[in-house]
Subunit: 644 residues, 2 copies
């Protein structure tokens, strides 16, 4: 009874709260340290350690301290109690001990070999927080931000290649890693390090799928800062964004795949069910995400049209935008789909439609908000990765498995990039040069997604081994490959310092003279994409945004009444001058770029315009990539499309 | 064993995640609905239902639906298991059931009479989330935002009155409510509705302290929108902000107060210990909060001075600002102080010092970020209040107690406002008129803080009765008093539509001519305050910000080397023209106002300046109060203080 009191007095409950505060304080401290370091690095133009690498390093040091400095306190926690009277594991357990009822919440099932890990240091236990936090709280803002900041112009140009790398490439990578790891597992069984029944081929494929999620955040930040060729940047960025979605759904499908009899034998029915699951989940999540974005676009569009004074409340717009995007994630999760994939496509669609309907202030607010959340979430994850190496108590370091994983990851990346690039170059007019391919090979970093997928299940011994190995691969790739980006760029003789402004300026005069180089654009954008773009411009954009021609001009005559109803008054000024989709594409891009430069905050004191453009951080700015001059709004451009 | 499987299969675990998604989706849906309603209301200038009232209404309807539409599902959860072998309640319980180990996390102790409430509807249980979420996640942004947006000029003018209302007034209110409720409790015991030993005088005082936290968010939003007299606004806003802090610490102190023998008898030692606790916790939290703000100011100041290009990374500044402010809260909690109080004074100090060091972009970003978080948190709390009326399963509706509470709350508010106003008017040169007093009496709304304090402990029957009653008082005051604000203003003949610009413009010419009406200012600001302000301006501001004169001018000669080290180069331009603190006060205020208008985002397309000032939402804008024209930066003003 005395012992009992110890745990339930209000003061102790307070202590529980305060311990939560201490853990959060540790993370706050790490993040503050990271920010100060980034500040210092940025100032000294030090490029060998990226912020994420720094966050990981600080996490590592803190994990080391927590592990070896704090003492075991809650000794009794590890004891296993035998309760024969219980015949189920209810979600809430009410236990009557000497006439006092205590409420316990179900957390999880524990394998017997892990029970020891729960004894001892309570601080370590507290620092290892719930994996679902990664998936439900930390990843969504990162993925949404990636989707929201897809560099649209170049992205659509390279859409075919990006899709090939993301879908086919990830599948190849998954299978190659799976096969190589299966070979190593066989060897381990042969050497007696592992029991046959512990590690199936599906486990190897599972490892393959989670290790196929590349996260070249470090490389992209550096490429962006150094103004490397935009096509290379777009290929890498687009691939990594879509590849995350593919890897997550792939992992999910492999988890569901359960052959009936022999787990090592190939079961065709189960395999096709898995493929069906993959396609169903992917398509469902895509539909869920984009439909939420379309709803957001419609709401903001309606409000802009009918209640013209509502752009006076930018916070309401921002709030609605934020909540609806989050709802896309939650709805997908609630429907058994993949929230991350939904939120990715929600971000892409929001950027394409809703963004155009927002007031200038809301545009800036949403960008800054998502950018900030992305920054925080990213650094928390990397700090936590560093921490996890020492605070996670069930690591299994198997040298052979780790060696095998390193080999598998690099071979798989090579099998993904080189053959696919060769195939793509057969169809592309603008080939992907050799040095770009090497750079893409080099940029196969593993980061947040691989970690989050690996930490989701760490109960069984194979899963623990995978988690440990994944963590080490993340450390290696982020530090070594991330740090080596700048030397690698020099070594591969990739041209840096290309000003995207010049890139566009070179195009702009030809456009304003309506003298378009149609052939180039046609060759680069696939026919399927052009059909979609034409449809999008003629029907979707006029319905969902203020951009594009009025519906009355694009729909057949008999649809006129409907068209009038759906068209915003402001769209009438915009007459489609040319039916050519190529023109539309370029025209649309210009509109986009002009909008981006339209909401730069100019301090009232500084009206000379010298700070213009500095704050524009929309496109492709991963993390803190760089705040650099974007397209200026020149009168020549505005004549092309003056009413959008 | 079959039953067991039901709970532990991975699919079921997935279901657990998805249920979390469903609950969050409910809140998202409510918030989206609230935003759309606010949008509609703002458009139609409908003022009888404020957004918080709307959020509460939607929550109520949703709670009703969840209560009566969803079915009981998790029947087994309510069963109490007898585990004699357990002799303590460890924080993590490992239970071995038929050779499988399950992990359970300690949640809380449950009184026997509440066990029934845990049976049945799992959805209701899920919707009633952890009270610590209110204190640790939802309240801090609201309180920080309140501190950050204190209307400083008028606040310092009325500091004496505000402190009197906040400290003395809250104490009076607490004691009056406590006494009246004790009378009603005695009556209830007499009528046999309550047992003597269940409800002590300290419980009544506890109720008094939590019901003393006023939250006139609705009234303030309306007053702000209607441009009511700034002094009335400041008195109300200042009182409600500080009063929250006082009420929270008071509640904490009363919980700690534990007389040794008879709980109803007065124990002088315990009483003085409580008073000591109150003062200690308050002072400690104040020190914690302001020292974090000072650290932030110093860091941002150093970076501005030494690495001049760092204002190029506004997100880092914003991140640092956010993390350090949150750390103030967490550190106070970890040290056993009151985090809410720490974060309040952190906000006040950040606004006073750090704000001046931020780059224009960071100023806007921090404001928008905190405003957004405040908006979300506030509406979540009010939605939840509506929900709680139906989803909380242990309500105790006692008509006599509820009636008593309503009487007590209004009598206590009267005992707070009228006598204190009378006393204050004896000393004030600018009296608080009768109609202002009535308006303050009328604005005694109860909101988020009272609710959060009441929900923190709902285990015992008296506490449940208090929670139910507090909830009803919040409903009544928010809907009836909040809705009646506009008629009340008309009835009390309080002048509305005062343009704060004119207020300042009337002062500005006299200042730019250095012809100050010293007597008025002197009479309004107390001597203690003037000494502090002089010290602040001469020593603190130069050390912590770029505003104010250089230290070399204000410190004695022998301190010169130190002063040179601490002074930023940019401060040297600013020579103190006049040692008069009155001048400094006004001068400083001008600087502040000018800064506020200095970072208005001007869309590049709209360079006529017509939208200038629209976005300025810093001072005293609670929630969505209103986006209205703030002080313009006129050339005349900038001459007064050109180098700040």
């Amino acid at each position: 009874m005395e012992k009992l009191k110890k745990y339930v007095s209000p003061k102790d409950e307070d202590k529980f709260y305060h311990q939560g505060a201490v853990e959060l304080l540790v993370f706050n401290f790490l993040l503050i340290l990271t920010i100060l370091t980034i500040w210092l690095f940025k100032n000294h133009r030090f490029r060998f350690l990226h912020e994420t690498g720094g966050a990981m390093l600080y996490g590592l040091v803190m994990g080391l301290m927590i592990r070896y400095v704090t003492k075991a306190s809650d000794v009794e926690s590890g004891t296993v109690y035998e309760c024969e009277k219980l015949n189920s594991g209810p979600s809430i357990l009410l236990i009557n001990i000497t006439n006092q009822v205590y409420e316990y919440q179900y957390k999880r099932e524990i394998s017997h070999h892990n029970v020891n890990g729960h004894q001892g240091n309570a601080m370590l236990q507290k620092m290892t927080f719930d994996p679902s936090i990664f998936f439900n709280i930390l990843l969504p803002p990162i993925i949404f931000h990636a989707g929201y900041s897809l560099k649209k112009r170049h992205f659509f140009r390279n859409l075919g290649s990006i899709l090939t790398y993301a879908f086919l490439g990830t599948a190849i990578s998954c299978i190659v890693i799976g096969l190589i790891m299966y070979g190593f597992v066989k060897a381990m069984v042969h050497l007696g390090q592992l029991k046959q029944w512990e590690f199936h081929f599906t486990d190897c494929l599972f490892f393959g799928s989670l290790m196929s999620a590349t996260d070249p955040v470090t490389v992209l930040a550096i490429l962006h800062n150094m103004h490397v060729d935009t096509d290379l940047y777009t290929l890498l960025f687009g691939e990594s964004v879509l590849n995350d979605a593919v890897a997550i759904v792939l992992t999910h499908s492999i988890t569901i795949y359960s052959p009936k009899e022999n787990p090592n034998a190939f079961d065709a029915a189960a395999f096709f069910q898995s493929v069906g699951n993959f396609l169903g989940i992917f398509a469902g999540s895509f539909a869920m995400g984009s439909s939420y974005a379309v709803v957001t676009a419609l709401i903001s569009f309606m409000h802009l049209t009918k209640f013209t004074n509502l752009c006076e409340f930018p916070m309401l717009e921002t709030g609605l935008f934020f909540l609806l995007s989050w709802s896309a994630f939650l709805s997908a999760e609630a429907a058994g789909l993949t929230g991350i994939v939904a939120v990715l496509f929600c971000g892409v669609t929001q950027a394409h439609y809703t963004y155009n309907n927002l007031s200038p202030d809301s545009k800036m607010r949403t960008k800054q908000l998502f950018e900030f959340m992305n920054f925080l979430a990213e650094n928390v994850i990397f700090c936590y990765m560093g921490l996890a190496l020492f605070t996670f108590q069930n690591h299994i370091f198997n040298p052979l498995f780790i060696f095998g994983a390193f080999v598998a990851v690099f071979v798989a990346r090579a099998c993904n990039i080189y053959p696919l690039s060769f195939l793509l170059n057969l169809g592309r007019k603008q080939k992907i040069p050799r040095n770009f391919q090497h750079m893409m090979m080099f940029s196969g970093l593993r980061g947040a997604i691989a970690f989050a997928l690996a930490i989701r299940d760490t109960e069984s011994q194979p899963k623990q081994m995978m988690f440990t190995t994944a963590l080490l691969i993340v450390f290696f790739t982020v530090w070594v490959l991330g740090g080596g980006t700048t030397p690698m760029l020099t070594w591969l003789q990739i041209r840096v310092g290309i000003d995207p402004d010049e890139d566009l300026k070179a195009e702009a005069p030809s456009q304003s003279a309506s003298n378009l180089d149609k052939n180039t654009t046609k060759a680069e954008s696939a026919w399927l994409f052009r059909i979609w773009y034409g449809f999008d411009h003629k029907y979707l954009k006029p319905i969902l945004t203020h951009a594009g021609p009025p519906l009355t001009a694009t729909l057949p005559d008999w649809c006129n009444p409907v068209a009038r109803l759906l068209t915003s008054p402001s769209a009438y000024g915009d007459q489609l001058k040319d039916g050519d989709t190529d023109y539309i594409i370029n025209n649309d891009e210009l509109t986009e770029n002009r909008e981006l430069s339209a909401h730069i905050p100019v301090p009232a004191q500084d009206s000379t315009g010298s700070s213009q453009g500095k704050e524009d951080i929309h496109e492709g700015d991963l993390g803190l990539g760089g705040y650099k001059l974007q397209l200026q709004h020149t009168p020549g451009q505005s004549q092309v499309n003056s009413s959008a």
